[in-house]
Amino acid sequence: MSTPSVLYDAPGPRARRRAAVGGAIATLAVVILIGVAVKRLADQGQFAGQLWDPILNPSDDSFLLVWKLIGKGVLATLTAAVLAIAFSMLIGGVVGVARMMLGRRSRIPIVGLIELLRGLPVVITIYFASRVLPELGVDLTGMPGGSGLWFLVIGLTAYNCVIIAEIIRAGVASLPGGQREAALAIGLTPGATMRLVLLPQAVRVMLPALISQLVVILKDTSLAAVLGLYTELLRQGNLIALNLHNPIQILSVVGVIFILINYSLSRLATWVDQRSVRKIQSKPTEAVPAEAG
């Protein structure tokens, strides 16, 4: 075993034998489970050529069209995600800094707004945007990408900007208090302290959390499919499946695409996290013991 666990000791010969037996039984159980699922799928004809060919067989008539549509869906998902991320960072940055720099009393409205939006489901903020904005006379049909895209982006931004504001606040709060005091002591204004001293350091600390939030935003773009707002990857997949009558196959492809993108993002977050930890630990002057775990 690679990493020692807190739960059990390094195994001796008897424990190793037991683990081997347990391993065999567990493998058998997992194999049986997968076998039952595969048999079920096979019995219902889910491995039939006409269901998989449009995805896997380049000589199939629909092959090119299917992958072109999926590609369009991926592009649409990424467009919505990138726009939502950009706006969330921008607004979240302003909200987060405002919350930190305002006085105890004048920040009450901002704290209230953050708590309010944090407690709402994203699907509600998106639905809210798509129903209430037209009612208030906001017309987005002329925008590039169509109104659905922008309702999705607005709804996602409303929720995620306050999350990012809180991430930024946590990042600044994690810095040693001496940083702010030293910056103020050499005569920087509070604004310059924030901009030149605190935020640049905080960004490093909060980078992993920010990347993890990107995964959340990317996943949440698919809510547009439930609301029927915007043809992103999942809705595109659904439309293909309606035509080809192969929902299991198409949804598997959609799921794998999401998993690949998000898994790479999560790995990036872990990598950035470990990299920044190593940097701090390698400083010879660092007297603080490294945090466990």
Binding site: L7, D9, G23, P121, K219, L223, P247
Partner: protein
Amino acid sequence: MDAITQNLDLFWSGFLRSLTICLWGAVGSLILGTIIATCRVAPVAPLRTFGTGWVTVIRNCPLTVVLFMFAFGLPEIGINADYYTFGLAALIIYTSAFVCEGLRAGINSVSAGQAEAARAIGLTFTQSLTQIVLPQAFRTSIPPVGSVIIAMIKNSAVVGAFGVGRDLFSVGESLTSAQGYAALPVLTGVAFGYLMMTLPAGLGLGALERRVAIAR
């Protein structure tokens, strides 16, 4: 405001329905998440692989894809149920991966010295697990698992939007779409209903955290 006052009973029954979904979802995902977490830290390699695979796949997949897979995929292989069952099952399976990670974070936060000390004073495996490791792990797990449950309350709206029917989201949808009420007051009412679940849950969680906090 007429839209809310005239349909107060609808909102109330929608709120109760959403609350029911959340309660079953919490119970189910805590149980399933604990099972998966047990697999992930088990001394048996295939179980660990299974747990890791489960978490990696489900955590990186949007809830909506899991939902669609259940509702459109399962009937293809002859498994039929109503949207309520499918929706609840998808919610539980999706949330279980996050519950598992919260629990595992708690177990990993117990320093190895604790278990080593327990073994050194002669406690058996079961004793060290139930008296030393798990009580500490459980306390550390409360904040992450609590936020997972709060996120699940919010995700129950996705299940509602998908068409479970008669829950808070569906009430808002039918009032604005079918009955032609103005969206702003109705959806404000819906939002208020969700806040009535998430805000108290957050406050309760904070209080619980302070109660069981331990100095390390």
